[in-house]
């Protein structure tokens, strides 16, 4: 290092090599990340209002299970899936629609009529009639759907 630090030809080539290598690395790396996280970043398509069935089928004061078929697009495959919803009404006019998916780790809960509780077999969780947690590990009550009644038919808003 005599006067200033002179950039030798060798140093210049070395820097240029690293720079070009970096550009090539980024040209692969950035698209690769977009490519991998693509499906995860995709917004779930809206299912719209899903018809459950006749509102008259709901027993007063007892959660009634409705099953409807929905079409789900996963990747390039369109699947028909079953959506299970428990509907509860105390007066025949106001309805609550609850998902049968346990809020703990996603197992399916079922209504045990003589115990007046929803029961999840995976980790012995119990939910009350209105979906509140009675015992077990779930962090929150059963998820609810937006529900409406039209011409005696029940609909939930799927998403």
């Amino acid at each position: 290092m005599s006067e200033k630090e002179r950039l030798t030809r060798r140093d210049f080539m070395s820097i240029a090599m690293w720079a070009i290598g970096g550009v090539i690395g980024a040209a692969f790396g950035i698209p690769a990340v977009a490519y991998i996280i693509g499906p995860a970043a995709r917004k779930q398509e809206d299912q719209g209002w899903i018809r459950l069935g006749a509102a008259s089928k709901v027993e007063l004061g007892s959660p009634t299970l409705f099953k409807s078929k929905i079409e789900k697009q996963t990747g390039w495959i369109t699947n028909e899936e079953e959506l299970s919803v428990y509907v509860l009404t105390e007066n025949g006019r106001n309805f609550t629609a609850m998902s049968n998916i346990c809020t703990h780790l996603g197992c399916r809960v079922r209504w045990i009529a003589d115990q007046e509780q929803f029961f999840c077999p995976c980790h012995n969780a119990a939910f009350a009639k209105n979906g509140d947690v009675v015992s077990g590990p779930p962090p929150r009550p059963l998820d609810q759907y937006q529900v409406k009644e039209e011409d005696g038919q029940l609909f939930v808003l799927g998403g």
Binding site: P31, A32, A34, Y35, I36, G38, W76
Partner: protein, 220 residues
């Protein structure tokens, strides 16, 4: 700081000597034709990276292969780019491999003491062609199907053992699901393993022996 970390590692793993042997080795004064091997290596890395990415979505069965490829191309962000790089990179790799081979032949680089490097290179060429042949079927479109149908039939025209070769390649008399999966298995497991092994020997020898110089007229 960086120098300190680098030295800490070097003291324990000795990477600097390895680095110098591979990247800072002395080479004779040569011309640009001598970069064809490195260019081929670059396309090989490109094929490996993009190929691994493609397997994240690609499904090698007749009912999903075409749709999954279309999904990659049209739905996945940058999917068109990844597939395009793999598609065009394949052609580039075959062309560069052949050009590299021509340079080695025409400039006499295959001679003593580099015969073994040449032998591994011959097998590497076969591996590259094998990659091209098996990869061609995987998109499972009309071109792929009939291309591989014709390709396996050409192999089947071998005297005496031809029919047997055709059946082994197709996994039966017809081009079927079995053909697709075995082409896929060969394309992503058998050939890459062979490539890594052969390329390892090839590169070891290139570094160990050093590259050949441009041939000169004998001076009397």
């Amino acid at each position: 700081m960086i120098t300190k970390i680098a030295n800490w590692f070097d003291e324990r793993v000795g990477w600097k000597a390895v680095w110098e042997t591979i990247f800072l080795r002395k080479i004779p004064k040569v011309n640009w034709l001598y970069t064809l091997g490195s260019a081929t290596l670059f396309t090989a890395v490109n094929q490996a990276v993009t190929g691994i990415l493609l397997t994240i979505y690609y499904v090698p069965t007749p009912d999903h292969a075409y749709d999954s490829v279309q999904y990659i191309t049209t739905q996945i962000p940058m999917g068109w780019l990844i597939r395009g790089l793999h598609h065009w990179g394949a052609s580039a790799m075959v062309i560069l491999t052949v050009l590299h081979m021509l340079r080695v032949i025409l400039l006499g680089a295959y001679k003593y003491p580099r015969e073994v490097t040449w032998f591994t290179g011959v097998f590497l060429l076969l591996v590259v062609v094998g990659f091209g042949f098996t990869g061609y079927l995987l998109p499972w479109d009309q071109k792929a199907y009939w291309g591989s149908s014709v390709g396996t039939r050409i192999a089947g025209s071998t005297p005496v053992v031809g029919d047997w070769i055709l059946r082994v390649m197709r996994g039966g008399p017809d081009l079927s699901a079995i053909t697709l999966v075995r082409f896929f298995g060969v394309h992503v497991w058998v050939l890459p393993a062979s490539l890594i092994l052969l390329l390892g020997i090839h590169m070891y020898l290139v570094i160990k022996i050093g590259i050949s110089a441009v041939p000169k007229r004998e001076e009397e």
